[in-house]
Symmetry: C2
Subunit: 280 residues, 2 copies
């Protein structure tokens, strides 16, 4: 999906919600039947169908599928194919946080962009450009690079300053913004660090930011919008648990829809007036 | 596998060779038949059986298996089970370079340590302690943390110095050495940066180092040993392509055995006199 298409969808739906698909086998509603892989696939497809009207993106977290072994990969492929077939206006991000080089990175890129056919993959920048370049080589696809994450130990390395006072995550932004461009690169910036968003925007004024950490982790949607939103929105705010586990009963999909609708209703007034969309 | 068991194996076999299993479907010998998953599994098992006498560890690179989807995961599980059943003295490292937090990291740890039952997983430290802790919680298993990698763009971030002149990879070593200990933590340090090994050893004098980059990438085995070896060896030197693709013909396993034997023969004289093994 192209950048202007994603932006169009955001303004049309008045939502910049990304629904995180983290199907923990121990938390699935009891009403789902069958093998673990079957239940995970059915759960995710029901969540997708229920929440799609209020969301512009879905972010399956590959760890939850991988933990089931081969049947988990089959479930992931089934969920992605289901979104593609039934909700073609949704942007799909494989939250895989891959970081490897050369042949290995090229293989990961093929796995996610060709075998699975998602739009974007989250990437870990530790090893530098070598670990991102093979993903950028896939035209029309996106690299979502970890910058400043929402977890407590982000301060171990991400926020440590170099001799010039530049934090590691700022260096990641400064260097990597030239590897690609705002039409193929996004950044992960945690909502729990909304006060850092002004500094992030000073470095990457036009890139989309994928923002986890609203809700369960304590980040504020309004703070994120105040510090991170640009004329073209430029934000995808992710919510996982608060939506997909809104109910553990037979009404799980309806409850997820209500939670997603609530998030979208809070997002709509935060969007700027519809911009002139002239982006590639 | 415990640390002293691994060290015993090294001195008994006079080898600190780790054979990297990177089964690229496009490079497999033509004599292998069947589905892609079948060929990958048969290839790896033949390589394992042929090279096991000269190696103390195997390192399947998960990307090469994942690129086949579900059948790739089945092949990986089959290869790991084959090593466990037929070569119980081999240390198995899943080269997955995972880096995630909380529930997700805990799931990855269960996937690799329980579902697959490998001894160790390679981990990316960018997000800090949160991304390693769930792996260390599995007693008897190992975290292999990326420190200084062998790729050119390791200089993008890994070698950048902070205000006190400490490079990021040195900070990773300094902080993370206290998360676990030399009995559950190893570090990846590339052979192409052997001159940095003295500094690494000044920070982590007893930890095992997993060293890629000898051979195809230009690192020197002798240089690595000169700067990185300790009384108890403390090194696992990885070779992938030079061994597993030594021949593309029907003699691929025999050629791999010969290449592994050659590496082991070069390793034996580099080992110190057998130490008193009193480690836990």
């Amino acid at each position: 999906m192209k950048r202007n298409e994603l932006t169009e969808n955001i303004f049309r739906k008045k939502s910049f919600l990304c629904v995180g698909l983290d199907p923990d086998i121990r938390k699935l509603p009891a009403c789902l039947q069958g093998s673990d892989g079957r239940r995970v696939a059915d759960f995710c497809k029901a969540i997708v169908d229920a929440t799609a009207p209020y969301a512009v993106a879905f972010k399956p977290n590959t760890a939850f599928f991988e933990s089931l072994g081969a049947p988990g990969w089959e479930a992931l492929a089934e969920v992605v194919a289901h979104i593609r077939a039934n909700h073609p206006d949704q942007f799909i991000i494989a939250d895989a946080k891959r970081g490897d080089i050369g042949n290995t990175a090229a293989l990961y890129a093929r796995t996610f962009f060709e075998t699975l056919d998602v739009d974007a993959v989250t990437l870990n920048p530790y090893m530098g450009e070598d670990s991102v370049r093979p993903f950028l080589d896939h035209k029309g696809k996106w690299s979502v690079i970890l910058a400043l994450t929402s977890n407590p130990s982000a301060t171990d390395f991400e926020t440590v300053a170099d001799a010039k006072g530049m934090a590691l995550y700022e260096r990641v932004l400064r260097r990597s913004r030239h590897w690609g461009s705002p039409v193929d690169t996004m950044y992960v910036v945690g909502a729990t660090r909304a006060d850092s968003l002004d500094g992030v925007r000073a470095i990457v004024p036009r890139h989309f930011l994928l923002v986890p950490g609203v809700g369960a982790q304590g980040g504020s949607l309004e703070e994120v919008a105040a510090h991170g939103m640009i004329d073209e929105c430029g934000l995808l705010v992710n919510s996982s648990r608060a939506i997909i586990y809104a109910s553990a009963g037979e009404d799980f999909a309806a409850a997820a829809a209500a939670a997603a609708a609530d998030m979208a209703a809070r997002m709509a007034p935060l969007l700027p007036a519809r911009p002139h969309l002239r982006l590639p």
